[in-house]
Symmetry: D2
Subunit: 355 residues, 4 copies
């Protein structure tokens, strides 16, 4: 176990930070060795802080002391689950100090020199880090709803996407903790999430390398985990339902991505039940890393409509960041090859042969 | 009080039937004198059946015995809160027996000789009853989501509507009782409601007398009362946001409709708060008879987007039927004038002068 | 209208403060003329602040500017919806400045010289204000759950109460805004509410003037409004179920309390349905001022068990404070008689003859 | 894999039946080979029926055809997830046909010759089957809330339990599917569950072999999984908090029970956080097989109070039945030894040495 690569988590006490820690507890390559959070928690034992990620805080992480969010003692790879405002200044500091920052924050996603990666779609964008001004580097995963939309659209781009509309019904865990007040959430819909529609209309385009008008309407609904997207798409040409189904069914990332530990067997899962996907039943698909698509039918205004659903804390946040970190390590991009070798020297680490 | 017009309620034990009974308890014109329901309840005291409409069952109704759903002893005006299947055979029987049937059921809404009325929009369609084959007549109100969409679109039709997309987040009470199982509802989204999208794509067109493609996606969300609609609209020509706002603000029904007891002061209420309308906060607007509109903003695919919300049990069902019955009585349409006169002979009834 | 007595509301922007403002909008005696809140809101138009009490902010209150929480410009009667910490210092300042402070806060409830009143139970305790050190005075209503327990127990005291256990399932609105985080509330139970069990074990005793051991377990459940109490009681002697039912059914306050505008026709409502009371169906009973009791049955450990339910924001907070203020005015206690006379000089105010 | 013992599941399409199938998918000893359900489902492919147990229906079970609930083709061990009414006649038929029926149904639990087992507490009661009139046998697990109460009380019995009161806040999944209507469940409490209080007051006594008055109040709350119990206990003698804590911490079943595959490492888990246990955070403890206890504090009426919580579908139903079946096989009771040997002949099965 000591041969696993030490990683840190910035913003370790939040909903996404805890999810990263939880999912890394039995990760074959990574070991959580450093936890950074805001002043309020610094110096406290991580296991003594409120744990909301389900089950128990992993014992190894529980024993760590929370540290100040400074690069000094942080390991070479640092996950960032910071809020956007904090990330905007802290992440460059960590990158400048030579760290590989694997961020879930929105602050730098749209910078031209920052990779915004969904490994099954645009793994090669990781090379953008070569243009970064830092001795380390910074890679990002998309906003939770954006990644579900990008994955659902990726197989459709070759048909000539002309327009996309999307309405989202987003879970409460996407707002972090304490997030939405229960009096606003219970038995209610809040038809507004600050900044969300803008992200949904821009991030998928950077990921897909496409120019398509996207119109997004985002709402918050009383669901714990799992964002539901109601999507309509128009194409340049006539496309049949079976074309879409086959494109989705056949979709998978390149071989070296499929071999990554966190990569799901099927990034997209089709459901042909009439009332699916549903967050309570389908968000856990592929250990939370798959997007489920259903209800494909003709649209009277655009061409086709469907429903897509994903787990906002997993493929939409913690799992996405971990998959990105795996990609960096496996491809040796972002200066990560060296880390892997150091670890390999010590003990056998199960790296897929394709790396 | 004895001068009020006796009315009956078919399907009196359901969620909508109870809501009609509740709202008629203090109605200035109508008095509930007859309650019809399925065999299971026949012969039972209405007040002994489970009451789910909030507060207490109105004492006058509580004392009535539930009767078989046959016209024989029913009064001249009968509200129908039947399910579609039952309504398809029972409502014509009541109309054939000379009754004015004021129906919330979908069974006959799209028949060319059946008025589908939102009084502020198409009150004159009530004259369609003249083409009905029955000695009595049948008038209907729209599906709950359709009426909200129709009201939101009505003021926009003059600008040349070209296309409409709508995603709905519908409350559980819209599914009746027992309706959705709680294991399907709690902390979940069900992205399918049988027949709902078809109604949303056709009923508003009959009401508006318009031909516009409408694409609807309907979902069920864990909300008690209040349907939220995310709408995008495209126009034949350029329209400014202020044009829309003024059209909505200035919208009202004709004078004789505004004078009806159940007519809200403002059928459409504009909210300029960034996160409204919300079902918990806004469904009760105008005693449940107003539709609240907010979040008007440009759409990247069509022209404009906005959020509309209404109370599905009130403007979307019970209140809509009552307003329709008032319209029939006040205009003397559907053979209702006679009833009113009979009542007037006995005692002064506060009918608006405009009738 | 100008003859109504001007009143102020301290903590006017919170959940309880808004509820007080909402319920006073059409009050026959009182008119909201002054709104105090924390610095953040001072100087802002009340109608521009977020309104969560349902419907719209009353127009007359909406036009007021929020003022600093200082007695200087406050009217003679001031409702306090402050949190306990703020109330502990501010309320004495207002009382010292000659105001009648009608408080919902817990800070001073248990002071020997502060009346803790449920008007149907212990209206005469209002005379305790004569021992207060201030030129004005301070009267309080109980904690939301305490008032329901006190009302349910009051008719049982004459039978010789020996012990009481109570488990509460409390609504989210009882925690104020933002209150409980939705991730803690949705589809969950939190078996702890700070300070609640202590209040439940002491406040009813002060109100009832009784010495009985009470054991309370308090939980927070995902309900919007309405606290449910599961109660067991033991008596010194044998008591029959019918004795209890009659005691509850016959319970009412003294005549001068029953005549108060906010007093419900029946403070206690018995339900004999097997699965009632329920918060969604019964919290609104008596316009929120009645406590509903049901499920009376033998207890294998103590003697009898039952379920009691009340609306935490109404009888449990805003409505309770208003009823207390009415009591003060109607009895002339707490220096309130003078206020009433001033108002009466100007115009006829509908005071019940019993005052 | 073929050496695993074939088992059947009666009532395989319900919430508990699906949970049994789900949990047996990777069971080391058992393999689901037969699925029985009511007429409506007979002949259908199990995988084509609605699956509500999370994730996907296990592929091996999905391929089976649902059969009529008759013993003819059923394997030697049959789990019963039938409702009580059906179980009362069907279970004896299966037992009479030589099957070992491992039942979650309440129909026969209190029969003197039917073991009602919580393996950590009363594993030896399985010998009661020797008095059964059938060629096969029938063993049962308790009602969901009863098992949590029994486990929490078991370590306290030696201190001389004198009285127990318990209030339950029970999850919706405990009511099966469709179960509670969402309009009754959402944002509401239903203070009644048919038959539940009676079970809570009797079943634990049979399991514990104790005679203690238990007073139970059961409610349904809007929680998906996890029942919360508020418990008060009185003892014959003075007992300190630390005595209780040590009794709970040290509690474990006999060695041969601890070795069973479904047995949790710790049947009871103590939490010292002030606001725990909570269903969303703690129901999954020990893979759903542990009961979490917290909030121990003095009781003003009895002696001590605490909160206990368990997963109603796992330790409260499916997991409890599986653990009972394991106990039967491992101890060779109930004619199960023979089955095991048959399987062993074919291939090595990992039976714990203690058997």
């Amino acid at each position: 176990m000591s041969a696993r690569i030490d990683v840190g988590v910035l913003g370790a006490t939040g909903v996404v930070g805890q999810q990263i820690v939880a999912r890394l507890a039995r990760h074959p390559w990574f070991r959580v060795a450093w936890l950074g959070a805001s002043e309020r928690s610094v110096g406290r034992r991580y296991g003594d802080l409120p744990w909301r990620a389900g089950g128990m805080c992993p014992p190894a992480a529980a024993r760590l002391s929370v540290e100040a969010p400074e690069p000094r003692h942080a390991p070479s790879i640092v996950f960032s689950a910071l809020d956007a405002a904090t990330a905007s200044t802290l992440e460059p500091q960590f990158a400048a100090s030579g760290r590989l920052v694997v961020s879930n924050a929105s602050a730098h996603r749209m910078r031209p020199d920052v990779p915004l990666i969904v490994p099954e779609i645009n793994p090669h964008d990781i090379r953008l880090v070569e243009h970064q001004p830092w001795s380390g580097s910074l890679i990002t995963n998309p906003n939770c709803s954006s990644v579900f939309l990008a994955l659902a659209l990726a197989p459709l781009v070759p048909f000539g996407l002309r327009a996309v509309t999307v309405s989202t019904l987003q879970a409460l865990s996407g707002a972090g903790y304490p997030g939405v007040a229960s009096l606003d959430a219970l038995a209610n819909v809040v038809p507004f999430i600050a900044g969300e529609e803008e992200k949904l209309e821009t991030e998928p385009l950077k990921i897909l390398g496409a120019r398509v008008p996207i119109s997004a309407q985002a709402t918050r609904v009383p669901v714990v985990d799992g964002h539901t997207l109601l999507v309509s798409v128009a194409f340049e040409q006539r496309v049949e339902a079976d074309d879409l189904r086959q494109a989705w069914s056949g979709f998978q990332g390149p071989e070296h991505v499929r071999a990554l530990p966190a990569a799901p067997a099927r990034p997209l899962v089709l459901s042909d039940l009439p009332d699916r996907p549903q967050p309570r039943l389908d968000a856990g698909e592929g250990d939370g890393m798959s997007v489920t698509i259903g209800r494909l039918r003709a649209c009277a205004v655009l061409d086709w409509r469907f429903v897509a659903l994903g787990h906002n804390l997993v493929r939409g946040a913690a799992g996405a960041a971990i998959l990105n970190a795996e990609l960096a390590v496996a491809t040796g991009a972002a200066g990560a090859a060296r880390m892997l070798e150091v670890a390999r020297d010590e003990e056998e680490v199960p790296i897929p042969s394709a790396c």
